[in-house]
Amino acid sequence: MENGIVDILLVEDNPSEAKLTIMSLQEHNLDKKLVHVEDGAEALDFLFARGPFADRIHKPNPRVVLLDLNMPKIGGLEVLRQMKANDRTKNIPVVILSSSNQDKDVIEGYSLGANSYVVKPMEYDAFTKAIGDLGCYWMLLNEGSVLLMMAKERMVNPD
């Protein structure tokens, strides 16, 4: 992760679940440029390059955010709301990963602009497959926009 390029930002407070998700991504070789933050506040600091992440101010955005919903302090939906309200982060694709299949959350997640809403399947195999598919889908789909972003960044900060 030298030069600060991050493909996937995983926002997940449960370390076991995070480990499981990372292992699933690993199986699809998607874990190389991944950053894991443990709550909503940290996720927002990372995305807005604040506090401990202040040095990320000129670094490109992650290509996809995998966002858990139930987290202490700042929940997933609040992170999503703040991301979509900020010009810097509003175009980052967001995939909500949640244990919940409650209709309320699905509707709110989509209305806030989530690109996908995935209920983590109970079965490990299905879970691994779902995570892998998602990672691939968003990484490939957003290739273009990320390249564009990188080009923009280079124009602003020619090194």
């Binding site: 949640s98 919940s100 109970m122």
Partner: protein
């Protein structure tokens, strides 16, 4: 006029009570009047020395009256005797005063006194006594009998007698009329009083009813808000369950599988089996949580009823069930069903659970066969699904639709015991009924209406 006929017995009772009261009051009054008449007789005795008559006739009259009253207290005979007795007192006074004309007025006093009973008929004995007395004594005096004192007038002829009697009769008639009118007026008054009382009672009851309704309404609002709170809490609970119970189970399963994959060569076969058991149980518990969530969500789901083509739904479900159980060799026979008015998503869940069950419990049979269709019962459509599988003992049928109740071992037939509870809940929510008929090892038939 229905209300009148209902209240009439009450009114009669009320009038009856009133008349009883009139009788008692009048009787009390008569004690004084009779005493006064008797004493009057004694007072007059001095004029012509008629002590024997005053004590004898007066005493006999009192004895007649009080003995009748004492012997037959419930009969009104004593009142008629009273009427006659008052006439006799008149005759006694006339005799005592040797035909003093003014003594004839006593008859009018008697007639007026009797009005108090409010019975026109009480005028009759008095009238008879007066007529008989006048006729007899008048005739005897006229015929020249000595010691018969009827009048001191010298013109007492037949004509005068007739005028006397007619005038007396007119007065007695008027007194009777008054008595009659008094009674009628009082009855009317009582009826009205009773009616007013009833109206006030009704108004009071209506107010009480209104108050009660208001209290009830307030209570309903309170309960509704309580229920809403409880329901919200329950939703919160479900939410927590779905998040917090599922996550650890997924982690247990995930790491278990991971170890099985990466460390299989380092584990003994029995250790591998234990690990598989652990994974299987975590998986089972995951299904329980999911099913339970479905079950609880179904309870709160809103129904959207439409005309549903049951055959299309059943066909769709059969394909899904077959896809999920590719190894099961079960023949499924579906006959033509009518359209049903129900929620298509929920009814699909019903068919899914019922058809999965039928396949699950009959797949071990050689020639497993499931029949689906509908029949009419009392004009309503009954859907059925019949299999020739494991069946169950009807003794345990009360547990069939209860949550987490199973009639078979998990090792024989997998499941969480929520499926039929969910089916029951959906059918009940539709206002329908579900029941079953089964025999062990011969199969089961489920029937439902929506």
């Amino acid at each position: 006029m229905e209300t009148l006929s209902i209240t009439l017995p009450g009114q009669m009772e009320h009038t009856g009570e009133y008349l009883e009261d009139v009788k008692l009051r009048s009787d009390r009054l008569m004690n004084y009047f009779l005493m006064a008449f008797f004493l009057g007789g004694l007072a007059l005795a001095g004029f012509y020395d008629t002590w024997n008559v005053a004590i004898g006739i007066g005493g006999l009259s009192l004895i007649a009256y009080y003995s009748a009253k004492y012997v037959l207290p419930d009969s009104s005979l004593y009142q008629y005797i009273l009427s006659a007795v008052l006439g006799i007192f008149m005759a006694q006074y006339i005799y005592q005063m040797h035909g003093l004309f003014e003594m004839h007025f006593v008859a009018f006093i008697a007639s007026a006194i009797l009005i108090t009973y409010q019975k026109w008929k009480l005028q009759i004995p008095l009238t008879l006594v007066v007529v008989v007395h006048h006729a007899l004594f008048g005739y005897l005096q006229y015929s020249g009998y000595d010691k018969v004192y009827f009048t001191q007038l010298d013109y007492m002829s037949l004509q005068t007698f007739i005028i006397h009697v007619l005038l007396a009769a007119a007065i007695f008639f008027i007194s009777g009329l008054w008595a009659y009118n008094f009674k009628k007026a009082n009855e009317l008054y009582i009826e009205q009083a009773f009616e007013i009382n009833k109206l006030e009672q009704e108004r009071f009851e209506q107010k009480a009813l209104k108050d009660m309704n208001e209290t009830l309404e307030r209570k309903v609002l309170e309960r509704t808000s309580e229920l809403e709170t409880v329901n919200k809490e329950l939703e919160g609970f479900n939410y927590s369950v779905s998040h917090d119970l599922r996550a650890p189970l997924r982690v247990i399963q995930g790491f278990g599988k991971m170890i099985l994959k990466t460390a299989a060569d380092r584990l003994r076969p029995d250790e591998q089996d234990n690990l598989r058991d652990m994974i299987k149980n975590a998986k089972h518990m995951g299904s329980l949580v999911d099913d339970l969530l479905d079950f609880s969500r179904m309870g709160r789901a809103q129904l959207t009823k439409n005309k549903v083509n049951m055959n299309a739904v059943v066909q769709e479900v059969i394909e899904e069930v077959k896809a999920a159980n590719p190894e099961a060799r079960v023949k499924i026979d579906v006959s033509e069903m009518q359209l049903a008015n129900c929620d298509v998503t929920l009814i699909k869940q019903v068919w899914t659970n019922l058809i999965s069950n039928a396949v699950k419990y009959s797949r071990k049979k050689e020639d497993a066969m499931v029949q689906i269709g509908s029949t009419g019962l009392n004009g309503s459509q009954v859907f059925y699904i019949k299999d020739n599988g494991a069946g169950f003992n009807m003794e345990h049928s009360d547990k069939l639709f209860a949550v987490f109740q199973r009639l078979h071992k998990v090792s024989e037939y997998e499941g969480t015991g929520v499926g039929l509870a969910l089916v029951h809940r959906i059918v009940t929510k539709h206002g329908g009924k579900i029941w079953a008929d089964a025999k062990p090892n011969e199969g089961a038939t489920f029937y439902f209406t929506v």
